[in-house]
């Protein structure tokens, strides 16, 4: 595995675990509290913040474990990255229609924010899965 193949797993872990914890928490809250009364904002900001910290630490850890000079992306890393991000762009563009429609129909802001964050987190994980498939199976 190249440095870039490994370091993107740090990103997947950061995005997936933090979002999963957040949505699990939100699910339990929704069980006994009306959506309008849930104060999700602090939790969401913490989720994004912690995810960034885990990502940075994970990348640093992988970089530390990589022999010096081997962390330069090669042609394959570059192509996988471009193809993966292009695919993520299509997925996110399609998913973003959800919160846009919610905003158009005046849905409560709670749902707009959380559906948008769900789309964001899903696309992040999707991008990493797509890239690892590209790494393994080729184009």
């Amino acid at each position: 595995m190249s440095f870039h193949e490994k370091s993107q797993w740090a990103y997947a872990f950061a995005a997936f675990v933090t979002a999963a914890v957040y949505f699990a928490w939100l699910g339990t809250q929704l069980g006994d509290t009306p959506a309008a009364d849930i104060d999700y904002r602090g939790a969401l900001l913490w989720t994004i913040g912690i995810s960034m910290v885990i990502h940075a630490l994970g990348t640093g850890f992988v970089r530390g474990a990589t022999p010096k000079g081997e962390d330069k992306p090669d042609l394959r890393d570059r192509d996988v990255n471009r193809r993966g991000d292009a695919l993520s762009f299509y997925v996110f563009s399609a998913l973003a229609a959800g919160p846009l429609v919610l905003a158009l129909v005046d849905a409560p802001m709670f749902w707009v924010a959380n559906v948008l964050f769900a789309a964001f987190a899903f696309t992040a994980v999707f991008g990493v899965v797509a890239k690892s498939v590209l790494y393994r199976k080729g184009f």
Binding site: D85, A86, Y90, F92, A96, P99, L100, A103, A119, F120
Partner: protein, 148 residues
């Protein structure tokens, strides 16, 4: 010029024009009344619909115009099929646009958390989406000229 390249050239004009028309229409309404009371949903749906149709019709029209021009000059009209280069350039443009939408989405999440009016949420999503698409088109036009 391939159809893909033609379509990029059409899009690069359609996006900013559509965006400016939408912003002018809702801007005029917003200056007369608070945003929570103006009607912006219908203009946005119209803008998105007209944008899609304009891109399709524009691509067809420029292809016909190019063919007609070639006939007038006494040359044979050629329709190039898209190839691997078009595909690579498209992916490259979309890859660059991806970062734009990711940042835009975070900004919109923050706006939604601030519980601003729905108008601002939908408009900022529309604006970042359109700008990302425009940015991708500019990157693609540059890639057609200068390579990847």
């Amino acid at each position: 010029m391939t159809m893909e390249q033609r379509s990029v050239w059409v899009q690069v004009f359609v996006y900013p024009i559509a965006l400016l028309v939408y912003l002018a229409v809702v801007g005029a309404r917003a200056s007369a009344a608070p945003v929570s009371e103006i009607s912006w949903v219908v203009p946005m749906i119209w803008t998105i619909g007209v944008m899609i149709i304009a891109i399709i019709l524009g691509t067809i029209a420029t292809a016909i115009a190019a063919a007609a021009g070639a006939e007038i000059r006494g040359e044979k009209a050629e329709f190039e099929d898209g190839d691997i280069r078009d595909q690579e350039i498209e992916r490259y443009g979309d890859y660059r646009a991806r970062h734009f939408t990711a940042l835009g989405a975070l900004a919109v999440i923050v706006l939604a958390m601030a519980h601003v009016d729905h108008f601002w949420i939908a408009t900022s999503m529309f604006v970042t989406g359109t700008i990302a698409a425009e940015y991708g088109c500019i990157i693609r036009i540059r890639a057609y000229r200068q390579g990847l």
